[in-house]
Amino acid sequence: MNNQQNSRFFFNVDWISILVFIALCSVGFINIYASVFNTSESAAFNFGSSYGKQLIYIIAALIIGFSILLLDAKFFSVFSPIIYGITALLLVVVLVIGKSVAGNQAWISLGGGFKLQPSEFAKFGTSLLLARYISTFNPKFRDFKSILFAGLIIGFPLLLIQLQPDTGSALVFLAFMFPMYREGLSGYFLLVFLGMIVLFIADFLVPLQILIPVILAIGSFFVYQNRRKQKVMLSAILVTIIAIAYLFIVKVSYEKVLSPRQRDRIELILGLKIDPRGQGYNVIQSKIAIGSGQITGRGFLQGTQTKYGYVPAQSTDFIFSTIGEEWGFIGCFVVIGLYIFLLLRLINLAERQRSTFSRVYGYCVACILFFHVFINIGMAIGIVPVIGIPLPFISYGGSSLWSFTVLLFIFLKLDSNRMGFI
């Protein structure tokens, strides 16, 4: 490769995003090192350990990332149905030959200790196809048919993942609501969704005798407000009735649909149950570790909770507890700051795209990352139920790092090519 080619391939690439990406990977490496660090082991670098493997994963991720930059931007748009097909096929395969880890059949063993988690790759497969669908048909989501079609694109992998069962990864697919919203899906969908969550929580915390009158009062207020607009009035009545019905459905289905483990997690978060040695153990220990970091943290390798293994799954799902303990509030602030900077930048980049495909894909990337960050950190500090999903670029694991890298770098490639047409 000569310099000219170099400048052609990497022309217009958003280096700032790549820098943030590298920064987050480094944060991940440092904290994985800390979380598996053991004073009794020799200080020599060990490629067999988690941090050693993670270094290999990071180097591989960089190679993958820059290889993607070398590909033609049109490739992703053209091949999106095939990529989607492959990732969906992997999801089927994992259900057949997958390796079960902690009750989830989510892994395909590749030998040599390396494992592949297809649900991670399904995210960008789905993102690509959704972007392709929207850019090709420009549906605006005003009609039921287009919503249904988009819903099928998202729902198929979601269902397969739920069969593993991996509720956490499945939930991430709800992130696709935001790109759809950006492309015209009515804001009511988001509001209804938000309302469902609020009512779900309220259903546990407030007795029905209080909750139902409150809903009725709010409903009547809207009915009274819109008494001259018959159509709106009727829909307000309808929403009120549905809301109340929903409460009962949740109450009944809660017992029947969710597994006891999932119920425990929900009840723990809502403070209905105290169980320091059972389900709540992870969260309590994670909060203790993070809280003990105070403002400046205990310092690199000085976290006692981290060092002595008080937080389970500390290099993967609970990696944030290491950051919290060893780097304190300042460290957490920096990490969350990096994420929010990246997310806002991705949205801004998405908005500067001329092609709809690139824009939709950009939104998909930002929103998937957002869901991961929010759920993972929220879970580590106990405001979200324990849902085992990784912290992008930071958590230990090749599959998740590579899938996020692919996700991000495809967009960066599309962005570098924003002047061209796809």
């Binding site: 919203y181 950006r182 492309e183 909060k287 909770q305 957490c332 929010i340 806002l344 957002f370």
Partner: protein
């Protein structure tokens, strides 16, 4: 740019709001609340204590009174205990499964992660057979500890005992003691607890999530090692103590012997005693209840808790105050017609001696003489009225250590009884005089003293005017430190020259043919003393002897009380003489050995069960005295 462009801000706004929620929660957890910081500390940091050996207590000649013996406690960390053969383990340690289960549950309740005691104080034999098989019982381990051991089984009330701390003890110590620790509960073990217990060592260990130790915190910067308790050198003489306990066997009472020049207590016998070895080991709980249930209350420390009328012991004191005040001189005589009339009371004297001077008055323990002196003291011209006179008299008597604790280094010392002027003023509303309290002249009535106080009076007389607070520990630790308060001289306000005439009288009481305490005469040693026969409404009279020897440079002051044993000359005086002889001559004269053996085998016990044992007998002097009316009304 399409019309939906603005939705970008909604999405970005959502991102920012969520980021702020996360940061806000983090701020609360990390900066605002220190709850998690503290939890983190208790997560990893555990304090492992090492226990020091308790201080050894020796007698004045360095013979061991109490030492330590290794025992083994079976401990368990409940969470580490895997299913095991309960029956086999119970068989090895020799307990039934029910008790074992109870202890296991108790340990689990205490903490699942901290070791808790399952069975305490296993013998070395059990320990040996257990340690071979301990691998079969994961989660169990044996911790060695020391317990008290008493080679001679003597001086139980003096030494006291140690017991496991109660929750109240823990609270009082502000967290120094921890559940399972031992604390001195009585005697020297209690009064010198802080010195004897030593300093507990602590290792700040770091533990990982699986409770595996990970080394000590900060390279052991905050760790301390255990420091053994200080050794105590007691003032007791093991030979006297042993002889005293043997002589008092099957009798109720006290022997207190003091070295006058130092205030060191040479013998401290409280009978009945108990075997101090019963209070340690696995059976200590049972023995404790058994001892507690005994009718003669072995836990009572009679030398400092028993109340007896000082009686004869008080008469020299009276005479000395009289000499000091100048109301009498050694040659002043009073006529004894066989009693003394004080108002409408008649204080009887058992003999009619005619004109009695000081020496004879003391030797014969003449009540009339004592009453005259008392009358003179309380009717001196310098006083405005009898009340003022009494207040002054009471103050002088108190200087002798009566009516208040002497400050001996044992817990539980009682004050005795000596009322001040305001008590009588309240009772008789100003209309009282010396006749009202005339019984005090002969150490009777509203006056009680402990055997220790009586021995201390003898100590003052032996020293010709002062005493040093009697104490039981003469030196602490390697450096042989002695408490400052136990070297200070307490003067009683009587000039030394006044003592010789009084001592003459006491010498006659023991050595002259007309003396009352002739039984305690010792060959080649001039012993000075007095007998007492204290009337007791509940049974036979108490036998009392007080004295000191030799006359010049006295080495021992002694008080002996044998309850319900009749005349002072019958039991108390001989016992005192054997002890004194043993101390001064190192052994009792061979011709007396048979008597000593006879005395050891005598049983003088009132018929049990006794009514509430309140060692507050109605006392009477060697000379029988009618019970005074006003005295009756106070009881």
């Amino acid at each position: 740019m399409d019309s939906l462009f603005n939705r970008k801000y909604i999405v970005q706004g959502l991102f920012i709001v969520v980021a702020l929620i996360l940061l806000g929660t983090l701020f609360y957890i990390q900066v605002f609340s220190d709850k998690y910081f503290i939890s983190a500390k208790s997560n990893v940091l555990k304090r492992i204590y090492t226990y020091p050996a308790r201080g050894v207590i020796r007698d004045r000649n360095e013979n061991v009174l109490v030492q330590n013996e290794l025992v083994y406690d079976l401990m368990a960390i409940p969470n580490d205990v895997k299913p095991f053969d309960t029956l086999a383990l119970c068989k090895i340690i020799g307990v039934d499964t029910a008790k074992f289960g109870k202890n296991m549950r108790k340990a689990r309740r205490l903490s699942r992660y901290q070791p808790g005691p399952i069975e305490k104080q296993l013998s070395i034999e059990i320990y040996q057979s257990l340690s071979e098989q301990l691998a079969r019982f994961p989660g169990f381990f044996v911790q060695s500890r020391t317990i008290r051991q008493y080679p001679d089984s003597i001086a139980s009330q003096f030494l006291g005992y140690i017991k496991e701390v109660t929750p109240t003890d823990i609270e009082k110590s502000e967290g120094y003691y921890r559940s399972g620790d031992y604390i001195g509960k009585s005697g020297v073990e209690r009064s010198y607890e802080k010195l004897l217990r030593g300093e507990r060592g602590v290792v700040n260990m770091l533990y990982d999530a699986h409770n595996v130790p990970k080394g000590s915190y900060a390279e052991g910067k905050f760790d301390t090692s255990a420091v053994s308790g200080e050794q105590l050198i007691s003032s007791l003489d093991i030979r006297l103590q042993k002889l005293g306990e043997q002589l008092m066997h099957n009798k109720i009472g006290s022997i207190v012997a003091i070295e006058p020049s130092t205030g060191e207590i040479l013998a401290f016998v409280s009978s009945p005693g108990y075997n101090p070895n019963d209070m340690v080991g696995r059976q200590s709980g049972n023995s404790y209840m058994k001892i507690l249930a005994e009718p003669y209350r072995p836990f009572n420390i009679r030398p400092i808790q028993g109340y007896y009328s000082p009686g004869s012991a008080f008469k020299p004191l009276d005479a000395l105050i009289g000499l000091q005040e100048g109301v009498i001189d050694p040659n002043t005589t009073f006529n004894c017609p066989g009693g003394f009339r004080a108002g409408n009371h008649w204080v009887k004297c058992e003999h009619v001696d005619g004109n009695v001077a000081l020496r004879m008055g003391l030797a014969r323990s003449c009540n009339t003489y004592a009453c005259y002196v008392f009358q003179k003291l309380l009717t001196q011209q310098k006083y405005k009225n009898a009340q003022v006179a009494y207040a002054d008299w009471q103050k002088k008597v108190k200087l002798w250590g009566l009516g208040d604790t002497l400050g001996v280094d044992l817990p539980g010392e009682r004050t005795g009884r000596l009322y001040d002027e305001s008590y009588y003023s309240r009772k008789y509303s100003k209309y009282w005089g010396y006749t009202t309290v005339i019984s005090l002249a002969i150490g009777q009535g509203e006056m009680d003293a402990t055997p220790l106080q009586m021995a201390n009076i003898m100590s003052v007389i032996a020293n010709r005017g002062y005493y040093i607070k009697p104490h039981l520990v003469k030196a602490i630790g390697k450096d042989r430190v002695i408490k400052k308060e136990y070297v200070q001289k307490h003067y009683v306000g009587i000039d030394a020259r006044h003592f010789e005439p009084v001592i003459d009288g006491m010498q006659d009481a023991v050595n002259a043919s007309w003396g009352t305490a002739i039984e305690s005469r010792i060959a080649n040693i001039i012993m000075c003393g007095k007998t007492g026969t204290v009337q007791n409404p509940r049974g036979k009279n108490h036998s009392v002897f007080i004295g000191f020897a030799p006359r010049d440079n006295p080495k021992i002051a002694i008080a002996v009380i044998v309850e319900n044993a009749g005349y002072g000359s019958a039991y108390a005086a001989p016992i005192a003489s054997y002890i004194t002889e043993k101390y001064l001559k190192d052994s009792v004269a061979p011709n007396k050995l048979a008597q000593v053996e006879w005395m050891k085998n005598q049983a003088v016990l009132p018929p049990p069960p006794m009514p509430k044992v309140k060692l507050k007998p109605k006392p009477i002097d060697s000379i029988k005295l009618p019970i005074l009316k006003n005295e009756q009304s106070t009881k």
